[in-house]
Amino acid sequence: MNNEKITDKLYIVFRVLCIAALIVLFVPGFNPARISELVPKTSSVFTCGTSYGTLTQNFLRAFNRGWVGTLTMQMVFGGCLCMIIGFVATAAGGCMSLGTNKLKKLGAIPSVVGTVVALVGCFMINWAANDIQGTPNPDRVVPLKPAMLSLYIVLSVIILVLSVAIFFLLPKVEKEEKCHMETKYQLFLLFLPFLALCIVFSYLPLLGWRYAFFDYKSGETLTMSNFVGFKWFMFLFQNEATRADLVRVLRNTLAMSGLGLATSWCSMAFAIFLCEIKNLKFRRLVQTFTTIPNFISWVLVYAVAFAIFSTDGFVSSLLINAGALESGTNFLMDNSHIWIKMLAWGMWKGLGWNAIIYIAAISGIDQQLYEAASIDGAGRFQKMWNITVPSLVPTFMVLLLMAIAGILSNGMDQYLVFETPYNTNTITVLDLYVYKLGINGGRVPLATVVGMFKSVVSVALLFGANKISKTVRGESII
């Protein structure tokens, strides 16, 4: 009984360490394989152990000149691979620990083997690190001491000791005992890989918020020496240039989202009027063709715009043929009324598609309402206004609230493709600004700060909209 309690406690430590071991494999800061400055800074054990090309991408000269032997780097690669395999095996042992006694006992085997393999990997990297110290050209190769190796050794040894201890503390396996696991854990383990993917791609990026507090330039690492606290948050508002940028960008974002909101009733009108067409074939045709633009990318919308409005496009050649123009004009370079134009392209792309939800809602309206109205002498327009529109308002409200929640996120594709040097002042929205600032301009901390503000405000708006929906309609939208 007592033993059982001890093993349960040990298992908690063991599982936490297993998860930690898997995580460190992905963090470039904890990479013992960086035995030289030539190993890329952004590589983790995982990248080093899975892609020999990435590991040795800067080593071409070093190999050719004989500064570093290929064997050394192969040892590093092998070592990383061993650590990955080892820790994965350990984690498998950790998963098996959720089962019955026999499964737990069996699970000790992959754990022990895994840690031993990982230790072998550590040894290989250590050998390579020592080997690279003797390079004939230390100025170029810049050998580094793999300080993080000790972390891996300590992790492996603790896990090894734990699994051996647990193995001996577990009661003996009875002969007729079977390997089994409770259903709830089975289901969880089946779900685990997908959960891990979700965490890696959706939650792990949150770690990137720490870049907002550092004086980071791309390619460098974060150290305490370049920790700047809230400098970038202050900078954003105190620096004249960025403040002006931000005001301009916010104005564009809100203006274009606002125009979108102000015209969101159009798809409802589109649906109502389309349903007034009694010829079903024509209606079907309209519906098919007007929804197509929704399924092409913004790049293709730009290609369409290019074909119609560029110097030698459709409109130009028509006008030349008609004698209205001397030579072709590129209407896309014209930077007036950009907001309206963007709205028009948005409507061209989305109107037909957005109407579908309303069309479905219209077909769900009780026909008796219309019949009753006819008997009471209501005309066609009266019926549209007094029956159809009120029936669609709830749907409209939900979509409107969702749109309000997404007011800051108009996406960057559309504005990126339509941007020209002449209209950049009026077309840059928040998403595009962050992209240009961070990815093109390399000002990572500042762009992260802007992104953080956007994320937080968006979530606040969403919850606000949800709250309104709950109080007004008694239904939540998320």
Partner: protein
């Protein structure tokens, strides 16, 4: 089939009513003008939606000299398909097409399988910590860290300039998981129960019962996933700066639409692969742009009319939340 008097009378009344009803809203001039304007509006809007594609298409198959002069506006002249042949011979468009098709197929298949499986798992009340994990999935739809942290994360994982960057992040798609989950919950539980009594495991139930029964919803998310993959452009733009061979077709199209220098290199490489004399006739800046546009949009134009009902089903499902 003798009708009673009452029924006959009823029918007559109905016909009369219908006639009157019809007359009622066919008569007024306001109705006529409205109907005409309404039809005209939809006709014009439909033409606006479809004409650009037609225009691009006739310009890719017409005589290239006429195209350059801007003479092809409504009808094709001197029909030929050399432009398409030439385009496929240009190396980087070929690879871009391959990359795009590859990511569309692989990405969609993996996403659909994962969504189906996870959607099934999260309906299982007995899973350990089901509520928390499911919430974890759902929250990611409404909240994200932002572009820059996402990019830094991808580069930390070694997913820059790497084909897998197109595939792996898309495998777990929370929205699709919710759709599948909602659908599976509508399947009668007795089916699963009886299979369980017969000794079927979760995997067997999933393979033999859930998967076949949820095919309609899987088709819907597959079609949306495929279109999304085919259209995706920003991931290629941001994640593949040093790997031009991995650029998607959309990204290539964007590059060609923007850069004149690129066009020259295409024309040169085009001249290398097809006979020199024909090259000048086949490829000019305009036709190259139009042809790539057409190559990029054709799959969607071809698939869409057949898959329309799945698309429409998709948006209706979006209105139902789990």
């Amino acid at each position: 089939m003798a009708m009673t008097k009452q029924e006959k009378l009823d029918q007559k009344a109905e016909k009369l009513y219908e006639k009157k009803h019809k007359n009622q809203y066919r008569r007024t001039p306001a109705d006529w003008t409205f109907d005409i304007l309404n039809h005209a509006f939809f006709l014009i809007f439909t033409i606006m939606c479809i004409f650009p594609f037609y225009y691009i298409f006739i310009n890719t198959i017409s005589d290239n000299d006429l195209v350059r002069k801007g003479a092809i506006n409504f009808l094709p002249q001197g029909i030929h398909f050399k432009n398409y042949v030439a385009m496929f011979n240009v190396n980087d468009v070929g690879t871009a097409l391959l990359v795009t098709v590859g990511r569309t197929l692989l990405g969609t298949v993996l996403m659909v399988m994962a969504s189906a499986f996870v959607g099934y798992l999260v309906t299982k009340q007995e899973m350990w910590g089901r509520k928390i994990w499911y919430r974890c999935l759902v929250i990611t739809m409404y909240f994200n860290a932002g572009l820059i942290p996402w990019y830094l994360n991808m580069s930390m994982l070694g997913l820059t300039n790497n084909f897998w960057a197109y595939i792996i992040p898309g495998v777990v798609a929370p929205y699709n998981i919710i759709l599948v989950k909602t659908y599976i919950e509508s399947i009668p539980g007795e089916l699963e129960e009886s299979a369980k009594i017969d000794g079927a495991s979760y995997m067997t139930i999933f393979r033999k019962i859930i998967w076949p029964l949820s095919k309609p919803i899987l088709a819907t998310i597959a079609i949306f996933g495929a279109v999304g993959n085919w259209n995706s452009f920003t991931d290629s733009l941001i994640l593949m700066p040093d790997a031009p061979a991995l650029h998607t077709l959309q990204h290539k199209l964007y590059t060609y639409l923007n850069a004149a220098s690129n066009l020259k290199s295409v024309m040169n490489s085009g001249a290398g692969t097809i006979s020199g004399a024909a090259a000048t006739n086949v490829l000019n800046a305009k036709t190259i742009k139009y042809t790539i546009s057409m190559v990029t949009v054709l799959p969607i134009l071809m698939v869409y009319p057949f898959m329309q009902r799945y698309f429409e089903k998709g948006i209706m499902l979006g209105a139902v939340k789990g």
